[in-house]
């Protein structure tokens, strides 16, 4: 059985204790999505504002995280918020896909444009989660919620 240290890396505990980008954004202009982990009752709220940059790409201009959850889901959300700010939506998609493939999740409907090989930086610390399959949902909750927030709803 893998030990607690595999899961709770120092950097994760740091983000858990001092979460980045906690708060709300005004909607609109920001988009908002709520995510649930039905297993443990965790709820996460992602607010995300985008703008079009000079190259004509949509970029995450601001992000805020609300809701409550365990150390893994909170840390993952906090690390995500730091990682995606200023990134284009394509870069965000690549990052998400890269994170999920680290979690050994098969990414469905991946199109050719998505590159799962981008560097994860700090997010690499979440790799220990893979040994605790139940916690994978905690780690990916924020990411799925972000994806929902930036997907145009019809």
């Amino acid at each position: 059985m893998p030990g607690l240290d595999d899961l709770y890396r120092e950097i994760i505990l740091d983000h858990y204790r001092s979460p980045r980008n906690r708060g709300e954004l005004e909607t609109p202009p920001a988009a908002k999505a709520e995510g649930f982990n039905p297993l443990c009752g965790d709820e996460i709220v992602v607010y995300v504002a985008t703008e079009t940059n000079n190259d004509g790409d949509e970029v995450v201009s601001d992000i805020a995280i609300g809701g409550q959850g365990c150390s893994i889901s909170q840390a993952s959300a906090s690390m995500m918020s730091a990682a995606v700010k200023g990134k284009t939506l394509t870069e965000v998609a690549n990052l998400t896909s890269s994170l999920k493939s680290m979690m050994s999740i098969e990414v469905e409907g991946t199109d050719a444009a998505v590159d799962s090989d981008v560097s994860l930086g700090d997010l690499q610390a979440l790799s220990g989660v893979v040994k605790f399959p139940v916690r994978i949902k905690c780690a990916t909750l924020a990411w799925n919620t972000l994806a929902e927030a930036v997907t145009p709803t019809d």
Binding site: M1, L4, C40, G41, Q68
Partner: protein, 419 residues
């Protein structure tokens, strides 16, 4: 040997194979399971596992159908279990025992069959803020179709039902749905008192006894219930079987729920004739082996004596509340009634600032199984102002040593996650 108020726990533990296996611990060393999640699902004694294997090895055949002796044997085993389960809960007749797949189906059966016939836009159903989703969502689904109102009995600060306004709440209500024992707070609710008031107001009473029947001597008549649901897997029995008990007269007045084999006397192209109780509500092949297993579970508990079971749990709960508070200290909140005699052995806790999911992860490293989550009671979570709790729940195979190890591991979790 640990003897707590009449139960010989060491001997009982020996009956449960899963509690006697070495499992890989976090440090690689073999460790024994400390199972504290019986409110979610209980473990099974060898007697129950063997009853089912033996059924398959010696007596398996479809029931109510064949004229050959094997089919008669299978039917007798099923009906014998029905009778013992009926007397276990004091049911006046074994025809009032309807086998379902779990407690959830039993409550959906009531909602669809009784509710579908009796509830309209001017009606109301009264449930409590501590109900399990299984006694909430079926009513919400039906209310969306039929337009009746759902009202909620609120809670007091210490997790009891607040019955101050009961008579006003009951006004115009046709059915009261109440959990006899909360799966989150452990609260034992005053079902009889509520039933008397409900009957006086012309309402019938559905009791969710999923947590009661395994832990507390139960008599459906004394409770004043009209309908009562419970589930096999929390009762030392197998998965795949639940029970709906109902007063025969009431069940007789309800239309069938599922259609198919066994629930009919005749089927013509233009319609069908319904069979009598209990078959009317048992469409298709029943969970035969599971019913046999549940019969063995009820025998096991009857041999221990449900009074002894309850005494053991009150005493162990008292020990746990005392010990956990002492060892973990101020940081520990145990939700629900403070008085062990007013509750079951379900301890929903807040452990300092640590999230339940993280707490249970630390406990798991020590082979301690507790449940972290909303326990299928999200409305209650909102009332408590939490997202989730860490829940340790006790049963006949738990003893003081289990509680001591829990306390120690909780301290570790608390410390690890203290900001």
């Amino acid at each position: 040997m640990t003897v707590v108020a009449g139960l010989d726990v060491a001997t009982i533990k020996a009956d449960f194979p899963i509690l006697n296996q070495d499992r890989a611990g976090s440090d690689g060393k073999p460790s024994r399971l400390i199972y504290l999640d019986s409110a979610s699902s209980s473990q099974k004694p060898r007697q129950v596992i063997d009853a089912m294997s033996s059924y398959y090895e010696n007596s398996n055949a479809n029931v109510n159908r064949g004229a050959y002796s094997l089919a008669v044997e299978a039917t007798d085993l099923l009906e014998g279990a029905r009778q013992r389960i009926a007397s276990f809960i004091g049911a006046p007749s074994s025809n009032e025992i309807i086998f379902t797949k779990n407690a959830t189906e039993a409550m959906n059966l009531v909602a669809r069959s009784w509710g579908g016939t009796n509830l309209g836009p001017d009606d109301a159903v009264l449930i409590t803020e501590m109900e399990h989703h299984a006694n909430i969502v079926p009513w919400q689904i039906l209310a969306a179709e039929k337009g009746f109102a759902i009202r909620w009995i609120p809670l007091t600060e210490d997790g009891q039902l607040d019955l101050t306004d009961l008579d006003r709440l009951l006004d115009g209500v046709s059915l009261v749905g109440v959990s006899a024992m909360s799966n989150v707070l452990g609260t034992l609710n005053p079902v009889r008192r509520i039933a008397d008031a409900a009957h006086a107001a012309g309402a019938i009473v559905l009791v969710d006894a999923a947590q009661l029947v395994p832990h507390v001597p139960t008599n459906v008549v004394d409770l004043g219930a009209d309908l009562l649901a419970f589930t096999g897997h929390k009762l030392l029995g197998p998965t795949g079987v639940g029970v709906l008990w109902g007063r025969a007269e009431l069940l007789d007045s309800m239309p069938p729920f599922l259609g198919g084999g066994d629930m009919i006397l005749d089927v013509r192209k233009d319609g069908f004739t319904t069979n009598s109780l209990p078959h009317k509500f048992e469409a298709g092949t029943p969970p035969i082996a599971e019913i046999v297993g549940l019969g063995a579970a009820v025998d096991y508990l009857s041999n221990l004596g449900m009074d002894a079971v309850r005494a053991h749990e009150v005493s162990l709960t008292a020990y746990a509340m005392r010990t956990l508070r002492e060892v973990v200290g101020e940081d520990l909140v145990i939700h629900g009634p403070a008085e062990p005699a007013a509750r079951g052995g379900v301890l929903s806790m807040k452990v300092g600032a640590a999230h339940p999911h993280d707490v249970s992860q630390v406990l798991d490293q020590h082979g301690i199984a507790v449940r972290a989550g909303h326990h299928c009671a999200k409305p209650l979570m909102r009332v408590l102002g939490v997202n989730a709790t860490t829940r340790a729940s006790l049963y006949i195979y738990n003893d003081e040593a289990d509680v001591d190890q829990l306390a120690e591991a909780l301290v570790e979790a608390r410390d690890f996650f203290t900001l």
